[in-house]
């Protein structure tokens, strides 16, 4: 019987998808429910009293930010929990003793995060349609931003899952790093609303470029040029992806 290396890769991708779909009440539904709440309270109720931003109604302005927020959260949560649980329960050994290459192992795990975050991004957009129809001005930019941001935070999830010694460490990163970066990254506001000092601080936040990148893709407006958003995203992806593959090759916290 002929075996194919691609089958191994596909199996691991499938397993990653089976993992999060088998617990869809924990992985898919919560972001859809909370996005519905955000849109109801902030977008629809409070947003009606907020003047337009870059000439865009607040509800429209909010939707791309929310989509990006859930892409980031879903990608990080998927890979960090999947890998940490497999280290903790020991079934990471199934992968480590297999003939999969280290690049295939990393790519398959990241694709799991990518699929979950794209499913949630599509779900959040569908939920938003019950409030308003947001145009998608540059679909390719939207897709590129969602894809690369998802891969970036999937890589972050892998790195944190390798470094973590307890489950608690995964949530520490969410609480103290990712959530503040998202909230100060312009999901709910434009940097033009901030004092100059905070505008400069925001420019150091990578999530700011991600949110503005997808907002440009959907609405055609952004606080920064789209070229700069793409550059930041591509550079971050390259660095984090390379580092993740390096960690797998070196066996950091994977091999004794």
């Amino acid at each position: 019987m002929e075996t194919s290396p691609l089958i191994g890769f596909r199996s691991l991708v499938e397993r990653e998808i089976v993992r999060f779909t088998s617990v869809f009440l924990q992985t898919i539904f919560p972001p859809l429910i909370s996005s519905l709440l955000y849109l109801s309270i902030f977008g629809y109720t409070i947003g009606a009293r907020i003047p337009t931003i870059h000439g865009i109604p607040y509800l429209h302005f909010l939707i791309p930010g929310l989509v990006m927020m859930y892409v980031i959260e879903a990608a990080y949560q998927n890979t960090s929990s999947s890998l940490f649980i497999s280290r903790w329960a020991g079934h990471i050994q199934e992968i480590l003793v297999s003939p999969l290459s280290y690049l295939e192992m990393v790519l398959a795990i990241l694709i799991g995060g990518l699929v979950r975050s794209l499913v949630i991004a599509a779900g959040v957009y569908l939920v938003s349609l019950s409030f308003t129809v947001t145009p998608i001005t540059h679909p390719v930019i939207v897709l590129v931003m969602a894809l690369f941001v998802s891969l970036i935070f999937s890589s972050v999830g892998v790195i944190v899952a390798l470094a973590a010694e307890q489950f608690e460490h995964l949530t520490v990163c969410t609480t103290f790093v990712i959530t503040p970066l998202i909230f100060f990254g312009g999901v709910f506001h434009s940097t033009t609303m901030l004092p100059e000092v905070l505008q400069k601080a925001t420019a150091m936040n990578p999530v700011f470029y991600m949110v503005n990148g997808i907002r440009y893709g959907m609405l055609g407006v952004s606080d920064v040029p789209i070229g700069r958003c793409l550059l930041v995203v591509f550079c971050l992806f390259f660095v984090l992806f390379s580092f993740t593959v390096f960690l797998f090759k070196s066996g950091f916290k994977l091999r004794k």
Partner: protein
């Protein structure tokens, strides 16, 4: 490339911090061998297995699987190995059947073929009724069988068994022994670590003994026992002795536990001379029993600096 050698280990050295877990370990496992890898707890057995299967990095040395270096050609090397680990390490998100099918998938087996093999192995290990179960609902014995089935899904040329019968009842242990023998007769090289020396004695053709990270013996089982053979004779007496009379003691006779028997090495003195000496002390002999040297005796001597452990005899 020497294809008649299944596992080739040269100068394998592994440190955990400053602790040397493996010190220049070298040995070969020939293709088709049933190889027993023995050692006390913490001797380096599982570390060696981890280095062979890609679960541990090592600082020095070389490990080859059918000629493929486990570091440089890790994909080809790993494709040839099936590992049955000591601990249950199943994916909690998958059912029993999925565990087998995905495992085969990671090794490049197409799904249709994987399903066929899963059916066969589930039947072989009497797990068919549990195929849709979460593995956590299985008993210890069923989990152990699932571990073995999983390792065989990609039909490896080398099966590594790390304490495969630990905690199992005798009946299941004997059934697994028969299964391992059959797998070995079908051409699979079997590498077994176990704390049940009887298991290694019954199953293995060749034995390696590791102690404190050093490989201290590798040989054919029969040869290993023959070289270190020291059969003992137990003589049952009609009374309990507190001490062995001096004349008998000088003949190498030692008191057995309880004082109702004495022991002597087979080669010490001729048996008739010894029996006459016992009679001369007015002691009747009720029976004589020769205890052949077993692998367990050899193992204890090797791992206790040539001495028998104090609790024995």
């Amino acid at each position: 490339m020497n294809t008649s050698v299944a596992i080739q280990i040269n100068g394998l050295t592994k440190y955990y911090g400053r602790f040397c877990a493996l010190n220049q370990v070298s040995f070969d496992v020939r293709e088709g061998d049933f190889f027993g890898f023995l050692g006390p707890n913490g001797a380096g057995k599982t570390t060696t297995i981890s280095a062979v299967t890609g679960l541990a990095n090592f600082q020095k040395g070389e490990v080859r699987i059918f000629g493929f270096d486990v570091v440089k050609d890790y994909r080809k090397a790993r494709a040839l190995i099936g590992l049955v680990p000591q601990e249950f390490n199943f994916d909690p998100f998958l059912t029993v059947e999925q565990i087998l099918i995905y495992e085969a998938g990671y090794f490049g087996v197409p799904k249709r073929e994987a399903k066929k093999r899963a059916d066969e192995l589930l039947g072989e290990f009497q797990l068919s009724a549990f195929r849709r179960f979460d593995f956590r609902k299985l008993s210890g014995g069923l989990k152990r069988r699932l571990l073995i089935a999983r390792a065989l899904m990609h039909r490896p040329r080398i099966l590594i068994l790390d304490e495969p019968t630990a905690g199992l009842d005798l009946e299941l242990r004997y059934r697994l022994w028969d299964f391992f023998r059959r797998v070995n007769q079908e051409g699979v090289t079997v590498f077994l670590t176990t704390h049940y020396i009887e298991e290694a004695e019954k199953l293995c053709q060749r034995i390696g003994v590791i102690h404190e990270g050093n490989m201290i013996e590798v040989d054919d089982k029969e040869e290993l026992i023959r070289r270190r053979s020291q059969n003992m004779i137990e003589i049952k007496l009609d009374r309990n002795l507190n001490d062995v009379p001096t004349e008998l003691s000088e003949m190498g006779v030692r008191l057995g536990s309880g004082g109702s028997s004495v022991w002597v090495r087979e080669e010490e003195k001729s048996l008739s001379k010894l029996l006459r000496a016992i009679h001369a002390h007015g002691i009747e002999v009720l029976g004589v029993h020769v205890k052949k040297t077993t692998l367990e005796d050899v193992f204890f001597k090797l791992t206790h600096n040539g001495n028998e452990p104090t609790h024995r005899f």
